[in-house]
Symmetry: C2
Subunit: 405 residues, 2 copies
Amino acid sequence: MLRAIVTSSDSVPSVPGFRFAGVTAGIKKRGGPDLGAILAERPIPTAAVLTTNQVQAAPVLLTRERVSRGRAQLLLVNSGCANACTGAPGMRATVSSCAAAGRAFGVEAEDVLPASTGVIGQLLPVDRVKAALPLLKAGMREDGLADFSRAILTTDKGPKVAGVQLTLERKKVTVVAVAKGAGMIHPNMATTLGFVLTDAKVPPALLRRLLRSATDATFNALTVDGDTSTNDCIIAMASGVSGHAALTSTGRAVSRLEAAIREVLGGVGRMIVADGEGSRHVVQLEVRGLRTDAEARRIAATVATSNLVKTAFFGQDPNWGRLIAAAGRAGVRFDADVAQVHVGDVRIVHRGVAVGPEAERAAHAIMSGPEYSVRLTLGRGPGKARYLTCDLGTDYVKLNADYRS
Amino acid sequence: MLRAIVTSSDSVPSVPGFRFAGVTAGIKKRGGPDLGAILAERPIPTAAVLTTNQVQAAPVLLTRERVSRGRAQLLLVNSGCANACTGAPGMRATVSSCAAAGRAFGVEAEDVLPASTGVIGQLLPVDRVKAALPLLKAGMREDGLADFSRAILTTDKGPKVAGVQLTLERKKVTVVAVAKGAGMIHPNMATTLGFVLTDAKVPPALLRRLLRSATDATFNALTVDGDTSTNDCIIAMASGVSGHAALTSTGRAVSRLEAAIREVLGGVGRMIVADGEGSRHVVQLEVRGLRTDAEARRIAATVATSNLVKTAFFGQDPNWGRLIAAAGRAGVRFDADVAQVHVGDVRIVHRGVAVGPEAERAAHAIMSGPEYSVRLTLGRGPGKARYLTCDLGTDYVKLNADYRS
């Protein structure tokens, strides 16, 4: 049984084996916390899922290289500057700031992983990072996760932390996720970053597999605007101090840890969508009845990113024609004549045609709420998929149209 | 040499061998012209490019079946009702209205092609179509294209007609395109419709090839919102009354006719983007330097449909980070370190990094205009592509968020 220990920032938990800090280094033009660190007691099993964008920021490149060894001890994360599209000077800045942090914290340079989020095309100000390291080190605390969670934010309305406790092999284990992101990318102040921390004892290869599968089910199945960033990164670290024997690759304990990681990543993922730039409605989209899950997922992704669907959500309009038309352009064959559409529990389309005005009025009422589900049933096959999305409102446009300077 | 004879509705040309009309049949709730017809003197070579959406409206299904014979005589087009997602009753309504039009005009039922645009999920009101047929027939005129062009509009700000004259085999030939669409789909009042009419003498198979290639270069390389409709359709008819010998499949005359068709379809396509729901800027996007044209086109389509790119256009912000990041998620390999970005003639990115604030100020000034070009050079390969897009502004959201009832 998973026990949620936090789903907001009100009571941020600690995770045995980790210390945290967040400070103001002067990287953000507008001020506020912008440099954070997560420190383990020694190099520990570490895994990462990194952006698939062809254009990758220097910190992503360096983390990709270093995490291939399956271990790390220190995460150095800044907001306010993505250090993307900054060429060789950008890579030198990332390497140099990680080396300085390693020296300050007594950690091997190779065991320091960087992550950055913020304006693309601006060079990381190494001097400001270096100058803030003594303060960062002095601030490291076991209960410092709240400080860290604030230091990594950009356009977010608030910090995003989710945690659960479970019992593995008769030992209490904690799993916590902390994330930032108010769009899959907010390209001036870019990016989704996510960190999963646990005191479970997990070998690196297994940790990688669990992170990948949980990410596919959560962060890879949500969208604010369909864009992905040069800096997206999710890193998992397992301190192993909970005291149980190291998990092997299968078994009940592994399944339970996998469920816990999915739970916390899903939790912060939902907070990201709810915080989606200007969004007012979180929509749980479910697509069923296709031949395979992959087909269902392809349709779900197309519907969830359709501007016409998302503006209808903004207008609280049960505009099922847009849902069906978006599904129809996903490149997947289905029989529109058997289509059913539900908003919450209200069926508005049956066998491909409208149920009627009364059903649509009931659906409209549901769509005025902050969170609801939409289900498309497009056949009788076993294939299904879920996707989390939000409405596209005028505030999204205003937030993203601001001239940068 | 092509001679443009019209690029707006000010002086709408006639095309020898065709008569046109547009009337008010009462299909649109808000009133106004909503039923149009194009009539040839006899069944003539006809070709169509139809939506690739898996969900296809009844008129698309019927036109697809009938046009496979390569001939038609009468086009019956209505706005205000898409007759999509209307099941078997929808197909019966389309077949029945075409049959009635055939009887009224003395045309074989099989030679009548329907096209519809408007609200998805509402049944075509056959009685209103039938009741309007006498008026429609009485209104048929050689100079009636302006009436027709107005009867097919939905949310468009105005009619869209483009024409050229050229000399083929020493005979004067006219090629005209007429279209509607203020989004690739405006899903309440859905769809892009386009019609190409010429008095050239072209066999059906050649007409199909020319229409397909011109559509790929024009309508398939423009976007307002990335959505495609259940009703999209472009139909070409060639009356052959210009008097030259029938064109064979290759040769200089064929190339010139192909260029003319591309010119007129490109002309009305540009009007559609300029009329894009709430758009203020038409942007000619050019992508160069890839290994193949297909790779360049894939990147161009991704950049042209990115909400973050399009909101930056709305904000007149030369936010090259968004352009590069969108290119990076197209699934095509390129070397970001050699990337160049131009806005108009101003280079803002050189070798993957920013040129500087002065260049961006100059680019910002260009982006305040109604139409400009953006060029991404992503390598040294020969592959290139063009795409026409527009900004995404608050008006787009407002237009599309209105609750239907």
